[in-house]
């Protein structure tokens, strides 16, 4: 099982609070739980909130480094790897519980994202990602992993 989300965080301004939107979501295998678009948006919002809370639960005092939120979540059926970029964009990768090197996979996707989404002059921030080049390379990357 493997599924992938990108959550983008907008910067808060005077007339607009900080928003967290789901800009991309894709499943790479068959037979996953199908949710409605609305459910995905709700989940994205929930995760954003939980992520912010977990940064504050740090039991170490004083913290040695700026706290980070959830990085890995393990359940009986899947494993979630979360990668947050310096600007607050979150990459969520859902895999099987024993998938190895998920952090490397996400780092590789981040590279693709930087190259094919961020450097795309026609892409505007906080909008859903609809780019054929990005889609094609992401699917190719995942196909290699899933066929191993």
């Amino acid at each position: 099982m493997s599924s992938f989300y990108i959550l983008q965080t907008s910067f808060p301004t005077a007339d607009k609070p900080q928003l967290c939107g789901l800009v991309y979501q894709r499943d790479f295998t068959e037979g996953l739980n199908k949710l409605s678009v609305n459910d995905y948006l709700v989940l994205a919002g929930t995760f954003h909130g939980v992520h912010a809370i977990t940064t504050r639960l740090n039991p170490l005092h004083p913290p040695n480094e700026p706290p980070s939120g959830i990085e890995v979540l393990e359940t009986e059926h899947f494993r979630l790897q979360c990668f947050q970029t310096l600007t607050g964009t979150k990459f969520l990768l859902f895999t099987e519980p024993f998938q190895l090197n998920t952090d490397k996979i996400v780092a590789r996707i981040y590279e693709l994202y930087a190259d094919y989404v961020m450097k795309n002059p026609f892409y505007s921030l906080e909008m859903p990602i609809r780019s054929e080049g990005w889609e094609r390379r992401l699917v190719r990357e995942m196909r290699v992993l899933n066929s191993r």
Binding site: N33, L35, D39, L43, T46, F47, G49, V50, H51, A52, I53, T54, T55, R56, L57, N58, P59, L60, H61, P63, E65, P66, P67, S68, G69, I70, E71, V72, L73, E74, T75, E76, H77, F78, Q84, G88, F94
Partner: protein, 173 residues
């Protein structure tokens, strides 16, 4: 490995037991390491507005009560999220941040056991299950003078349970 803290939440979302091991500079009255009960809802707000800065900023310290509430909120949201994504019989086991790892175990009666450890710790679900079977059931559930529900943590922190937990955690640390 280091165990930072341990919490039990009952099915009414109330924290009935909490214990902190790591030395923490927190405004806990009495200065002891064990606080109970911590469900005193009227005395919790310390008047300070919540700091809603950017996620990467260094946050202010929270009181132990607020910590317990935040932990409950986190595990509740995550549990619902995991059920939606992984199917109704899925439940999350643990999550890890850069600083700590939270382990979670839920009994069929919705009592929730939560333990915070350092990041290098392996799966602690069986440890939490052991605490449930050997300590909670033996010393709290089977205690005839202990109430069925534990409003305000009543009846949970008896001597046997405290001692058992202390030796158990010391045993595997």
């Amino acid at each position: 490995m280091v165990v930072y803290s341990f919490y039990i939440f009952d099915r009414h979302t109330e924290c009935v037991y909490s214990k902190l091991w790591a030395r923490q500079d927190r405004p806990i009255s009495g200065g002891g390491t064990s606080i109970r009960p911590i469900s005193d809802s009227s005395a919790t707000s310390n008047g300070a507005p919540p700091d809603l800065g950017p996620a990467r900023a260094r946050p202010a310290r929270l009181s132990a009560q607020d910590d317990a509430k935040l932990i409950f909120g986190t595990i509740f949201s995550l549990r619902n999220m995991v059920r939606k994504l992984g199917g109704p019989d899925d439940s999350f086991i643990s999550f890890r941040t850069g600083q700590y790892k939270l382990h979670y175990f839920e009994t069929p009666t919705s009592t929730k056991f939560v333990m915070l450890t350092d990041t290098g710790t392996l799966n602690m679900r069986n440890v939490l299950h052991q605490i449930y079977v050997n300590l909670w059931v033996e010393y709290v559930v089977k205690n005839p003078i202990c109430p069925v529900e534990h409003p305000g943590g009543e009846g949970v922190a008896n001597e046997k349970f405290e001692m058992g937990l202390e030796t158990f955690v010391k045993g595997f640390v």
